[in-house]
Amino acid sequence: MSDATNASPALLDVRDVSKAFGAVEVLRSVSLQVKRGEVVTVIGPSGSGKTTLLRCVNFLESYDSGSIRIEGKEVGYREAGTRQRRSERDLAAMRAETGMVFQSFNLFPHLTAAGNIMLGLTKVRGKSQAEARQIAEHWLGRVGLAHKADSLPAELSGGQQQRVGIARAVAMEPKILLLDEITSALDPELVGEVLAVVRSLAEDGMTMLMVTHEMAFARDASSRIVFMADGGVSAVGPPKEILAAETSNERLRTFLARFRASHF
């Protein structure tokens, strides 16, 4: 695609990003790269900064220092080393290049499933109603909800709402999809249907950065796993390496041990 203008091989390049909420440092010099087609999963104890990191990538949160680039383009701030925030219009345009799926779905309650997907297509992508409707129906079909196009969010189960949330994000054809603990608010029996959708997107080559507590899914679906602790990246590697019980990283070992104890 735009490989010519892309100095870094990484689609997403996070470098030395730090952020503090008052006296609390939530991100400490975090660096992380995601290549095109990769699925990178961020794991770690709650409060370790995973969600904040994800929200920095599409600038739902600002950060204090460091840089976040997508295809070589700085996300939230103007180029040339200044810490000047982009205009709201520029920010909106940048955000349209990333898709995000939220823990609490965050569907627009007054719009139908199709309407939720069409809003960005018509208002941001400038597509006609008919065209947008077609795209919405295509993606609703992909997530197994073709028959729910005209249902309102309140008429859908959590798992269905989340699948609409995914469809809403991918219909915009984002360069990278950000998934923020997308199964955490779901009843256990609904988790599978959502993860199946994510898996099929991964198979299509969708680039993804996700935060999850579903370790089995992280192991099977990820190209790499990033372990965060206390706002910093503590370990990065292929799933087998990171999730190995005999890792030498003590924090990771404790996290995994605790995790296993509470989940099995």
Binding site: A92, A96, M100, F108, H110, L119, L152
Partner: protein, 221 residues
């Protein structure tokens, strides 16, 4: 003792009441429409503004809410024209007053509604690349409306009743019509009974209509 009810004189002058009711409704509709615009604009401005603008809007709301409407009506009708060179009719003066008055109440209704829109929805709007203006129009306002409709209905009904205050500056609305009949027939009980019934009935009809709108919106939730 022994007051015998006699409605004949009331029916003979019923056109005063009927015409008054229509004028009351007209005053209410125009004032509420203007007040809604004031309320919406200020509420949207408030939630996105800095401290100074917020303080100014809050001062307007506080002022209006702590001064009796009747005083504001006198102030605008008798006070303002003596200070500045302005001439307006009593109905215009009242509409002006009730608009500014309802605006203050509606700012509060809309502001609390805007602030009650879940942050996640705004995040979702940002995430798909909507500009701030688009987020306001397509995400925030529709949700706000849904949240505020019940409070909005109550405020509208209350403002409709407030039109009776216009009688103090001789605007021939319903209450003024009732006073006129009272002065000319001395059938005080009858005329106020009929007038009360007319306010009640109109209020109920309005409320019924607004509840229908609410139900439509709630169904679409």
């Amino acid at each position: 003792m022994g007051y015998a009810l006699n409605f004949n004189l009331i029916w003979r002058h019923f056109d005063k009441l009927w015409g008054g009711l229509l004028l009351s409704l007209e005053l209410a509709v125009i004032s509420i429409a203007i007040g809604t615009v004031i309320g919406l604009v200020l509420a949207v401005w408030y939630v996105s503004a800095g401290r100074v603008v917020r303080a100014i809007i809050a001062a307007y709301v506080e002022f209006i809410r702590n001064v009796p409407l009747i005083l504001l009506v006198y102030l605008v009708f008798y006070g303002v024209p003596t200070v500045v060179d302005l001439a307006y009719s009593a109905p215009t003066s009242f509409v002006l007053t009730l608009s500014v008055y309802s605006g203050a109440y509606l700012v509060e209704v809309f502001r609390s509604g805007l602030e009650a829109v879940p942050r996640g929805q705004l995040d979702a709007g940002k995430a798909i690349g909507l500009t701030p203006w688009q987020r306001l129009i397509h995400v925030r306002l529709p949700t706000m409306l849904r949240i505020t409709l019940p409070a909005l209905s109550n405020t509208f009904i209350s403002l409709f009743k407030d039109t009776s205050i216009a009688s103090v500056i001789s605007v021939p609305e319903l209450t003024f019509g009732a006073q006129w009949i009272n002065f000319n027939t001395f059938r005080i009980v009858e005329v106020y009974l009929v007038t009360t019934a007319m306010y009640l009935l109109t209020g109920y009809i309005l409320l019924f209509g607004l509840r229908l709108v609410e139900r439509r919106f709630r169904a679409a939730r």
